[in-house]
């Protein structure tokens, strides 16, 4: 019996009981909350990270922001919608349809496009949409510099003088030369139509394009109005009931919630507390796809057009300046293992193709390389490296879920042919800078183009102009000539030859070893209909409905 046992006082028990009953009370409080909104007309979307700007022309606007710009703003024209073989809807890059414009006409010589605007279209504040607003918006896109200006330039839209107000409801774009990318480029996210009167009220002498104000506000007239944005937490949109540029959306309200933990996103979907989950980890989507619709929710996966996950080899440095060494690496890559254990089958293989030449002018298409270590070793010997060499594999830490296992598998395979590679993991903030330096001998990266043309991909990815996406610093006059010819080719037969020509060159020279075409996986409840894949890889709420 302890001396201290005399202090066994009832008061302690009371304090303890109070503490535990407070917790019990709190547990009891956590009931089902009454729904303030009708769940049926509200779409709840889960994302890993949300937008960082409401202005598509802003400095540093991330791709997460496209969802806001795309749904809040209209463009003059947009893309049509087609149904893919598996029944999923996708935008149709070959079909340009009017949106804010009622109609458009390309001049016979292809050097100008005239748009007739809808007379009944209004911005969210009620102001009518006029050609002056359109001109202001196009002028802004080509003047503010950075990404929007760069994107406009891809369609030969470069100077404000090209944009002409004919009358209040007629707008003309003059083109320096016929360019097949001009019209599609007016249907991407960047040339959104801003309410110029509203925006001008917030412009200053130092900031003539109201960049500061536009970061957090909208001057839009599209199908959805910005309701409230809490950066890092949530963004909500309400339907614009006066929208005239298309059929009225079925969804009345959209809530996009940021949920950083992938496990929680999955739990929320399985409990039915959310309707759509984007940013699916490949392992999760592979598991849910394997359930074949018997699980709580489904995943719709669409291959991302004109995109590649690839291994790049810097061609300006030894030993990868030698095409034979590059081919040796291409024969050493353990493709099967990468598809199976790095991306769980959520990718379209872009290697082990039949024959050794392109089958048609489609892009991307499988390269002929197969895992064949004997061949790799032989090529390496022919190139003068019978004992291999030392090198590094660089990956983006921001994409480590897939890239890290890929790098490890590659490292192991290279070891078998005598190439000793170390893995360098570069933080997301620094990766682009590292790629710009073009001195990372082996790197695993991805690239995709918004405009779905092979020559567009090659212009950024293989051309000797050496854009940042040509991470291999590959330069070959023969390649450049073919790409340049295809870019403005009017004759379909010649175009096909040129495209197959540069794809063949890319296969033979192997500066970039394609791994797979990435798949955009979106998780959704079974009652969600009308999901449509868009080139910008974000949701378009206008087509979605809950049944």
């Amino acid at each position: 019996m302890s001396l201290l046992s005399m202090y066994r006082l009832p008061i302690h028990r009371r304090v303890f009981l109070f503490a535990s009953s407070a917790i019990l009370a709190a547990v009891a409080l956590a009931g089902t909350p009454a729904f303030a909104q009708s769940r049926q007309e509200t779409l709840v979307v889960l994302v890993e990270n949300g937008p960082n700007s409401m202005d598509i022309h802003g400095v540093g606007t991330s791709f997460r922001s496209y969802v806001a710009a795309w749904n809040m703003y209209d463009r003059l024209v947009t893309f049509g919608i087609k149904t893919l073989p598996d029944g999923t809807q996708s935008y149709d890059y070959s079909k340009i349809v009017p949106e804010l414009a009622e109609s458009y006409a390309m001049a016979p010589d292809g050097k100008s496009v005239t748009f007739k605007l809808r007379k009944d279209a209004k911005f969210h504040d009620g102001a009518p949409v006029t050609a002056a607003d359109v001109k202001w918006s196009y002028d802004r896109a080509v003047s503010v510099g950075g990404f929007p200006t760069f994107q406009m330039k891809a369609g030969s839209l470069e100077k404000p003088e090209q944009f002409v107000v004919v009358d209040d409801y007629t707008f003309r774009v003059d083109l320096p030369k016929q360019d097949k990318l001009s019209l599609p480029d007016m249907a991407v996210v960047v040339p959104a139509i801003f309410n110029s009167k509203l925006a001008r009220q917030h412009a200053t002498d130092k900031d003539p394009w109201a960049m500061e104000w536009m970061k957090t506000n909208s001057a839009a007239g599209g199908a959805f109005k910005l309701d409230k944005w809490s950066p890092g937490q949530e963004i909500t949109f309400n339907r614009n009931d006066d929208w005239k540029s298309g059929p009225l959306p079925k969804i009345k309200r959209v809530i996009i919630r940021e949920v950083p933990s992938p496990g929680n996103r999955r739990a929320l979907m399985e409990r039915g507390d959310a309707d759509i989950s984007v940013d699916m980890p490949q392992k999760d989507s592979a598991e849910i796809v394997a359930e074949k619709g018997t699980g709580k929710y489904i995943v719709v996966g669409v291959p991302i057009e004109n995109s590649l996950k690839y291994i790049g080899l810097v061609t300006t440095q030894k030993p990868f300046d030698n095409a034979k060494v590059r081919q040796a690496v291409a024969h050493a890559v353990p493709y099967e293992q990468i598809y199976k254990s790095a991306v769980y089958g959520r990718g379209i293989p872009m290697a082990m193709g039949p024959g050794d030449a392109p089958k048609d002018a489609s892009w991307p298409q499988p390269f002929p390389y197969k895992t064949d270590l004997a061949k790799a070793k032989q090529l390496l010997t022919e190139a003068g490296y019978p004992d291999g060499f030392e090198t590094t594999i660089s990956i983006d830490l921001g994409d480590a879920t897939a890239s890290e296992p890929e790098a490890v598998l590659l490292q192991e395979a290279l070891g078998k042919i005598g190439i000793k590679a170390t893995i360098e993991k570069i933080p997301g903030a620094n990766f682009r800078n590292a790629m710009l330096q073009k001195n990372r001998p082996i790197h695993i990266a991805s690239f995709g183009g918004w405009l779905n043309f092979p020559d567009y991909f090659f212009f950024w990815g293989y051309h000797g102009q050496n854009a940042v996406f040509n991470t291999m610093a590959y330069q070959n006059p023969k390649m450049d000539a073919l790409i340049d010819a295809a870019r403005y080719e009017a004759d379909p037969a010649k175009y096909k030859n040129e495209v197959m020509g540069f794809i063949k060159l890319a296969m033979d020279e192997a500066p970039r070893i394609p791994l797979y075409q990435q798949i955009l996986d979106v998780g959704m409840q079974k009652n969600i209909k009308g999901y449509t894949y868009w080139f910008h890889r974000q949701l378009d709420f206008r087509q979605i409905e809950k049944k």
Binding site: F147, S261, R271, V468
Partner: protein, 337 residues
């Protein structure tokens, strides 16, 4: 007492200045090029230069420092490039979120740990002492984010008792008018009991996770301090003099045992504020820790500096509050200084 508080504040000034200089230099020494990052994927080298100029990063370090100090003097902490918001606004909305979570976590923790520690000390070797030992060992060996994930899995995913781990409020509620920034308090001020309930429900799981984690040091410290005091001479004297048991334990023993407990409390609090990043991630809590980590990943200078500065000021205030508490608990402390 007032002069002591004044002295404390004055002595904090050099450390705050030191913090300013160190964070400025450290953020600049981070690897990564914010200009390349924020110029976007399609940037040309000259576009990156443009961004560098617009961010003021083309100036020399001393010049940048002068600009920074000037901005700071006018209360301008700069803009976060990643979220596009002024850092001051971000901190103003995110700090209360973190504080609310941390304070509730501590409150629950103290409400359980202190009685548990006292009970364990008054009957060593009894079942309650063993319980205390089990709880503290479990608490210290379970990282808060793990407890959090476990709670979400069982109470939300499996049983459906707890609300979805979606931050401070369920999707279909809107936040109360900001007065303190604490949703529970603001909801009460507004008189909106439904929002109060909803906010409290969201707090439940993360607070439990934090409380379980912080229970251990507090309960152990309480137990140890109580044991020491209860074994000291003046307690024996008090008992020999026939004082009532309640008076002995609460009036003398507990009060004397409070000092180390308060010190631990301060340490745990400051540790929690910075360390509950993972809990914030698990519960999608829009707190300040997540904000700082994301800024670090993006080499976004302004928010990092703002975060460290806020934390430094908070620590200064925390230390001050603990010193004042010392004086309240033990008047001798005040005389000594």
């Amino acid at each position: 007492m007032l002069s002591l508080i004044g002295k404390r504040i004055v002595s904090a000034i050099p450390s705050v200045i030191g913090v300013l200089v160190v964070t400025f230099v450290l953020t600049r020494a981070l690897p990564g090029d914010p200009a390349a990052y924020f110029a976007g994927p399609a940037a040309t080298p000259q576009a990156i230069e443009e961004v560098r100029r617009s961010l003021g990063l083309d100036k020399t370090l001393p010049e940048q420092f002068v600009v920074y100090i000037k901005d700071l003097a006018t209360g301008n902490l700069g803009n976060s490039i990643a979220t596009g918001q002024p850092v001051l606004t971000e901190i103003r909305t995110r700090l209360p979120a973190s504080l609310e979570l941390t304070l509730y976590g501590l409150l629950v923790s103290v409400l359980i740990a202190v009685p548990l520690g006292v009970l364990a000390a008054t009957r060593p070797g009894s079942w309650i002492d063993h319980l205390c030992r089990v709880v503290t060992t479990a608490g210290v060996s379970l990282p808060a984010f793990f407890t959090g994930l476990l709670l979400v899995y069982v109470l939300y995913y499996r049983l459906g008792w707890a609300p979805a781990p979606l931050g401070r409020l369920d999707i279909f509620y809107s936040a109360p008018t900001t007065v303190t920034g604490f949703y529970t308090i603001d909801a009460l001020i507004e008189g909106n009991l439904e929002i109060f309930r909803a906010a409290l429900a969201q707090l439940l799981l993360p607070v439990t996770a934090l409380a379980v984690f912080t229970l251990a040091p507090l309960a152990r410290m309480t137990r140890a301090a109580m044991l020491e005091v209860l074994g000291s001479d003046f307690i024996r004297t008090a008992r020999a003099s026939g004082l009532p048991k309640g008076k002995i334990v609460y009036g003398y023993a507990f009060r004397n045992a409070m000092l180390p407990v308060v010190t631990t409390l301060g340490m745990v609090f400051s540790f929690l504020l910075g360390a509950n990043v993972l809990v914030e991630k698990v519960f999608s809590w829009p707190g300040i820790g997540t904000f700082a980590i994301e800024a670090l990943v993006a080499s976004d200078y302004a928010p990092i500096q703002g975060f460290v500065l806020t934390m430094a000021l908070l620590y200064v205030m925390l230390n001050l509050a603990i010193d004042v508490l010392y004086i309240v608990i033990d008047p001798r402390v005040g005389f000594e200084s």
